[in-house]
Symmetry: C2
Subunit: 496 residues, 2 copies
Amino acid sequence: MRNSDSFHTIIIGAGSGGLTVAVGLANLGKHVAVIEALHVGGDCTNVGCVPSKTLIHQAEVRGAADTAGALAEVRRKRDALREKETLEFGAVPNLNLIFGQARLLSQSKVSVALLEGGERMLTAEHIVIATGVRPRRVPIPGLAEARMLTNETIFELAEPPLHLAILGGGVIGMEMAFAFRKLGSRVSAVTTASWVMDKFIPEVADALTPALYQREIATYVYARAESYDAANQTLFIQQDSKQIGLDGVDYVLVAIGRERNIEELGLEVARVQFTPREGIATDSYGRTNVPGISAIGDVTATSAFTHSANAQGRRVAQRSAFPWLPTRAPEPFYPSATFSDPEVATAGMSQQQIAGRYHPKLVKRIRIDLPTQTDRGYTDDVQQGFIMVDTVRLTGKLLSVTIVGPRASEMISLFTLAIQEGISLYTLYRVVYPYPMFSSGIQKVADIFLRETLTGLRRELGTVRATCRPSRRAAAVRSAGATSQPIPHSESHVAR
Amino acid sequence: MRNSDSFHTIIIGAGSGGLTVAVGLANLGKHVAVIEALHVGGDCTNVGCVPSKTLIHQAEVRGAADTAGALAEVRRKRDALREKETLEFGAVPNLNLIFGQARLLSQSKVSVALLEGGERMLTAEHIVIATGVRPRRVPIPGLAEARMLTNETIFELAEPPLHLAILGGGVIGMEMAFAFRKLGSRVSAVTTASWVMDKFIPEVADALTPALYQREIATYVYARAESYDAANQTLFIQQDSKQIGLDGVDYVLVAIGRERNIEELGLEVARVQFTPREGIATDSYGRTNVPGISAIGDVTATSAFTHSANAQGRRVAQRSAFPWLPTRAPEPFYPSATFSDPEVATAGMSQQQIAGRYHPKLVKRIRIDLPTQTDRGYTDDVQQGFIMVDTVRLTGKLLSVTIVGPRASEMISLFTLAIQEGISLYTLYRVVYPYPMFSSGIQKVADIFLRETLTGLRRELGTVRATCRPSRRAAAVRSAGATSQPIPHSESHVAR
């Protein structure tokens, strides 16, 4: 059977990014086709945020008491959401959901090998590639396929592993380490990096390491899996030059990164530029080098989250529906949130981005510790956590924020807003934060900045003078003088 | 023994507000005296935030397993902090901590009946009254003093009550109801109001009531305590016209409000204006009618929190130290946070303040429910909670925000910042919130506002035209047009 159809936009991939474009355009009356090779909802609903956050919640409330129930609940919630979304998106007017494998034939033509059999040819003015990623795998000699897990298979477990070895100390690795430990598994985390969460500043690992230790999650850095002895259920890892046997390992979770789904798409035929390492190259509005073809979400270089895929999808839909609107705005710095225990959240630039734009002496780092410098840390026995802010000297402009601690993922959005709107620490100083919350730590950060800036004005001016051009210096001085002189202030219920 | 001494500022009351002024001025080199009749740290450290939040945390982590340990830990933390603060503030250079009962003799003279005996006469250029409040009591015939608790005595309990009756459905009542229920007490809440948390919009009670019910906390509205039968341990309450006997009640917590500590201060002698109902009258910089005498914190009309006492203290210290700075800024709208389960947090104006400033048709209310309209509500089985925003039609200016739900107290500060800086829902729409957090509900609120405003622009314009002056209307229209047209967007990982 061969069918042909013409659309305003064809979207390849029904994950968070693709569906965002599809629904946005369909609601505006555009005729769209969404091609999905597996499940509606993409990683988020099926193998990502939804099952992982359900598991983390279940592990928190049920602990080791009802582990099979916890894992069954994860699947029940995931399946119910998947079914709901499949029905809902299938029923959106103007939106055609097509299950099959898509392949570009040109900049306006897509063939779909239908899951139900047969092929279908589609044409459109716009094509959006949103095929996402899959987990990167690594062979471990001796380890059977059934014993090797990824985020695509771990939520299928009927019971937690007895001893779960996790390869990779990143977001997925850390989230699963804490969750399965709470469910009663013995957990060992193995990373080739020099610390866990190595995509973040090392202070994150400094705060997570004691938390891992307290929960008896064994962590091996500079280490890699070598082989598995199935008879003795032992995973051998190499750390520096010594071999370590992790005994009783019944499952290995591989969480060492992702690979982009770009191979079977016909990108070469359509002449879309990409690299295996960076994915499909786009500008800040998702445009590839080929007119009419866009790419969003994890298949591109700049997204690694549901919320960034989502934000990119909005930009593409907006540009597609309203092509006369300006499209010069740079892509925002996406926040991140990791649901380890404690949580880790970030906003703003990476350290590399800061280094590329600011003289190191212009950047002032302020850190407060939640356990000792917030009263809520005291009442709630918080063991680890901090708020760390990189700011521009004198101006108090926010560059980068990292929060580790309870509720970090909820606290971060104030900083995302501040960074987006150019709100400085002088302004955050004037906000009244409800006592006794962790957010009073934000007050403390602003207090420290103001105190050190105003009491050390001559020194700060000297530092800035040594590094920047006259015009920027003048702006910095104006900015510092614009705020009425403050009273130094403390972390606690008393302002000191 | 009679001593006499002269200071830059005398502060009466070593609570959060008073100490904020004292430390602020002392650090600036001013010679200050702080007079305290009981404990350094005031309500916050001794009978308020610190013991209550410690109890709430202990109840959460220990539950009914180790109740004596939980209560002992509350006292241990409180005592340790009190001791630390007493030592620290006693050691601040330029700060003289004097224990005794203060009485104004004139606008610059204070006598102190020292706790150690004797009297001391102090003079100063400035006097700051920060004497706070005490719990209001109500006699209950038949109930012995030892069985009647307030926030000043409840943390002294060695074990949780078997059946705790709480009079008052406000912040203290609700926080203690959930905490003691988790510790295993039977809890009955009795309020004369028509709903619990009646200082807030009724939707708060609508969300808390099922939570109270699920936890089996009996709630009686329109009800008052009548008498106590000690022999049968029964508290009789009157609800409408019927009498109800609450059996097995061993303790009654009276949490029906506060009374300001103004009686023994010599306010009449110094001619400081006050009313028993509103406390000491001040302007937005804490100035009373008497030059040189200020008042801050709960003894005034506008503060009821540690963070508001703190903010007022900063303003007074700033004005006192830098008298040439302008003092025309109005007092901010203080946020609130209540640590019931779910939490309740508010920012912005009260409904009365909105009604006094805006035509009702100009105000647009947007509400999203956390359980059904955020994916985190779904994964985490959130049962109750919402974000409700009152905004100005067309402009999206934020007037008032109420959040009920997990982490509400941490989410609220983004809105406090937005309200302070005049940031509208158009701007909050552009923020990328980490998925899947409750703060994506903020995105949803902004989405709804934009969708309804832009798709119903004619209707919204008509509504505004009917209510406001041309100049304001023009500003509203300009503001609505200033944002590039958005794509309607949803609560979930898909923007729809």
